[in-house]
Assembly symmetry: C2
Homo-oligomer: 349 residues x 2
């Protein structure tokens, strides 16, 4: 997969676009005026691999805490602004690394102009973030599709801010429909060189949300589209970051700790492979190593997969074979498999 | 997305390929000779939307129960055969709807020939299922990539069985690498008109497994490739089926009960949207209605998303607005939101 070429911009020290690695974003879920909780959440997310954080700005008291949040956050902070020009200006003056405005609810050109001026004074990055749930009326008379309306709405703002001299822009076009999202980003990627922030919005709860995000973000990344991603889940921000990192790892775009290649366990398996894989996963959680570990139930694909992995086991009757880089190291009794595997993983430098 | 045209075959009464809906498969996880447990698992999966079931055949005692399983199973049964020609023949004679053979571990042409003859006597569907973990040695001298080796291994068997007169074939090419899987299926889809069984193998535990399956299966389906899918998870077969159905629903390919469009809940939300969405999800679980329900935390995208949904709520301060097909129905106090929403959902015919 060849990555579509976009202009590289910097959000504080984080590069976005060009040849920069695809960065991971999330959004804090506590009220922004509760600064201590916000900063705690950001630090936790940063440890999990979050590169950029966004915070919502609902009112003046949220906006007024931004300076403090920016100063305490280990990663760049983007203020999420809707409806209000005043809140946008206030956020910029507080020194946020970026602001996101929604062209569907700050719609007047005179507001855009004043925001553009303030951005230029402070060197703020601008994200133009259109959402299918908050699109302006379609006045084109062309009966545009929802994806085309998303593109038209964002591009109108992009053109305006470019002309006003804003030099660091990124764009998002989110819909709760996977196919609409993909269509919109494919279209806009042909029309702009600004980096794209990719995500599906309002994806739903747990598994359904993870599936929709993987489908939308993943198929765009596979087409080379997407410079920074946000998984939005009706779940914790930590799970959003983990899901994003797992998507990038699964596509070979960025490493993310130990990858367990585990077979699904069918009637053929003579060891309890489901329990064993979960136990290995639990035990390696904290380890900062980028390894592939195979946990396979039987000899059908076990040795083959274990060969592709850095280390692995393939189960037999009441025992397993331990592999390292394709070589059989030893036989291990079922009750010792997890213990031995973990100890061998820890030995790998 | 335009579906790639494949030949339609029937597995018992289930059409695969051509214009047939993409069907969902899973595999039982208990030993096959434990017939009662196998049948119980199959019935549970069928209720959840599983169209086809595969059972592993490890030995004679597994094979000898197949006739009974086939007679008690509400959905077509495929016997999963590795290594042994004898088990393949036994399974076919037991009247299974399909058998899967792995050209990586039943490799001799004389075995293929005898299996082909038995298949023709019984009208069995043949799945040729290659796996990256059990590929034969690459004797082409062409230094093939793993994806190319998968294709070459499967196509050699396909050509052979076609020439022997086998009339109902489907093909799978599974790898534990998402990109290898995608590459292999893309290549083979240009070389054959037989329907494709799509899946990623040995995906890993819980979230990681769901993500890899969504990425691999989803991006192929978006390219029009895939006639029947299996999600393999190091988890229950029930979760495999649910994940598969959610992938199909998210891509608009098949309905699957009530879809909840829930926002991720940020600092802007003044109601507890995470808890609320989960509670709605729990309450609608059993309902057999194909609806979109929006559960949105605030007015930014809430009303917009609620408009696209059949019914939904958008939160405010201590209350929410209830929408139906884009029209505001009433205001509801926070404590009553879930109750009122569920009751309105139940009223929809």
């Amino acid at each position: 997969m060849k990555r579509k070429k976009t202009k590289k911009i910097f959000l504080r020290n984080v590069p976005i676009g060009g040849d920069a690695p695809v960065s991971v974003q999330s959004m804090t879920k506590v009220p922004t005026h509760d600064t201590a909780s916000v900063v705690r959440e950001i630090k936790k997310l940063e440890k999990e691999g979050c590169d950029i954080i966004r915070v919502s700005v609902l009112n003046r008291s949220d906006a007024e805490t931004l300076k403090k949040i920016v100063s305490l956050s280990p990663i760049p902070v983007v203020a999420d602004i809707h409806f209000s020009r005043e809140l946008a200006l206030l956020a910029i003056r507080q020194g946020v690394d970026g602001i996101r405005i929604n062209p569907g609810n700050i719609t007047r050109k005179e507001d855009w102009k004043i925001i553009a001026e303030e951005i230029q004074k402070h060197g703020t990055v601008l994200r133009i973030g259109a959402n299918s749930g908050s699109l302006p009326q379609d006045r084109s008379g062309k009966n545009l599709s929802p994806a085309e309306r998303l593109v038209a709405s964002a591009m109108e703002a992009v053109d305006f801010f470019e002309k006003e001299g804003v030099e660091k822009i990124k764009i998002s076009l989110k819909s709760s429909s996977v196919r609409e999202t993909i269509e919109a980003y494919e279209k806009i990627s042909l029309q702009t060189f600004w980096p794209l922030h990719v995500g599906v919005t309002a994806t739903g709860t747990s598994d359904a949300g993870i599936i929709k995000s993987s489908l939308g973000i993943g198929s765009l990344l596979l087409k080379g589209i997407g410079d920074t991603i946000r998984v939005s889940l009706n779940d914790t921000s930590l799970r959003e970051v983990r899901t994003a990192r797992l998507i990038l790892r699964s596509l070979g775009l960025r490493p993310f700790g130990i990858e367990i290649i585990a077979c699904p366990g069918c009637g053929r398996s003579q060891i309890n492979i489901l329990k064993m894989a979960k136990s290995v996963e639990q035990n390696v959680k904290g380890l900062k190593k980028d390894l592939k570990v195979a946990v396979m139930g039987c000899i059908v694909n076990g040795p083959g997969e274990a060969e592709e992995a850095d280390i692995g086991i393939a189960g037999g009757k009441g025992e397993a074979i331990l592999f390292k880089k394709g070589k059989v190291i030893k036989r291990v009794k079922e009750k010792d498999i997890v213990k031995v595997l973990i100890s061998e993983i820890k030995k790998i430098q």
